[in-house]
Symmetry: D2
Subunit: 129 residues, 4 copies
């Protein structure tokens, strides 16, 4: 049984399950990008940060799975005080699954070289019939 806050939320939408799932997936990717870009980053904390981003995303509505991978090619072991960088959107490789009733969206964010842009897109969108 769906609880009352979920029913209340539903009353603010008049659309298909897949449109709702697409919207919810967009919110989660926008959240990840704009919440975490800027975090101080080195080899020492990259794994911990990936886990925190995943765990934070799972807390949001309708998220079933999340996988976050941060590009390590620009990271090095910290020797001097200034040997670290800030997380940028281009370093993020994210795939998450949002399920709303009959619709499931697998959405991703990754740097697309041809566009020089960290694109958010759909890997897969399915509707149960």
């Amino acid at each position: 049984m769906r609880n009352s806050r979920e029913a209340k939320a539903d009353s603010y939408f008049s659309c298909s399950d897949s449109e709702r799932a697409a919207f919810e997936a967009g919110i989660k990717l926008g959240t990840i990008y704009h919440q975490f870009v800027g975090v101080p980053l080195s080899i020492e904390n990259v794994g911990t940060l990936e886990k925190a981003i995943e765990a934070g995303s799972k807390v949001q509505p309708f998220v079933e799975e999340v996988k976050v991978r941060i590009d390590r090619s620009m990271l090095k072991k910290k020797r001097g005080e200034y040997d670290y960088i800030s997380l940028t959107g281009d370093m993020l490789d994210v795939t998450l699954t949002v399920k709303y009733k009959t619709a499931t969206v697998q959405a991703s964010m990754k740097y697309v070289k041809d566009m020089n842009y960290p694109l958010m897109f759909f890997k897969k969108l399915t509707v149960e019939r």
Copy 2:
């Protein structure tokens, strides 16, 4: 004529125009919330911040219009050094329009008292036929 980065982006989607528009709208609301929550806020800077959030949102893909209104009821004129607060999601009232090809989504974020939650939702979703 759509330029090549837009065509490249389109190649990462296999969905209806309205699903794409819904996704893009979700990204923009997630961006606003998670980018700007935390900004120091008083009566002195609230108008400037509303304008900056709107202007930043308009820069993103497929955004046609944005209206941001921050609740002023908790703000006061700054007399002492500590007379200010941080922007929270509950104070945000946002409506934006995303248009992708035949689909137009008017999406909003506002605090819903019954849910004690700053809900993101659709005001209107239309598809040209």
Copy 3:
């Protein structure tokens, strides 16, 4: 006369005026960097964003003046949907003045090429005697 919240805050410090001013200046530069890095940016909104960062900083305790300049060399006029970038720390050139009782600190953040790092530092620190 200083108000009671300021006196209360003072009771949490046991240090010189210049150490307090230095601490307060550090907070403000950390705030600017980590609050605003990630904002969507093009020629269209760069001026509005500079103003909002300045206005937000002035709201914080003991800030007298703030000047924010964002490097425009990577920005272009938006023609296509994806013609924008995200603000990075390297683009920020900030100078702010914090005054606490007898101490005044002029602190800055700017990209230092030799370090490949957006350094936060003191331009000037003076104590009235």
Copy 4:
């Protein structure tokens, strides 16, 4: 031996070790607040987030130790989709140690009820002689 980026950074300061340490401590607390306020939060991810904030802070210059504790009193086990909140500054209890040459600052952030404000302050400031 201090490396060249550290020496380069030092050349941008003309102040006492304790003023520098105070400045560096302020930057770190400002970073934590403005980077992480807004993260989606429930009992499920609070521990992971504490660890990620600590690990990110340790990556920054001159940080020796960091302890982050997020107030759990407002968090509950997630049963419904909307059973979570966003991290606010008032929930943060942070203590970190910054050491710059002869100076050591132990700085904290915690919600001060009398001020209704998440205050950043010094727990201890010592200079070796």
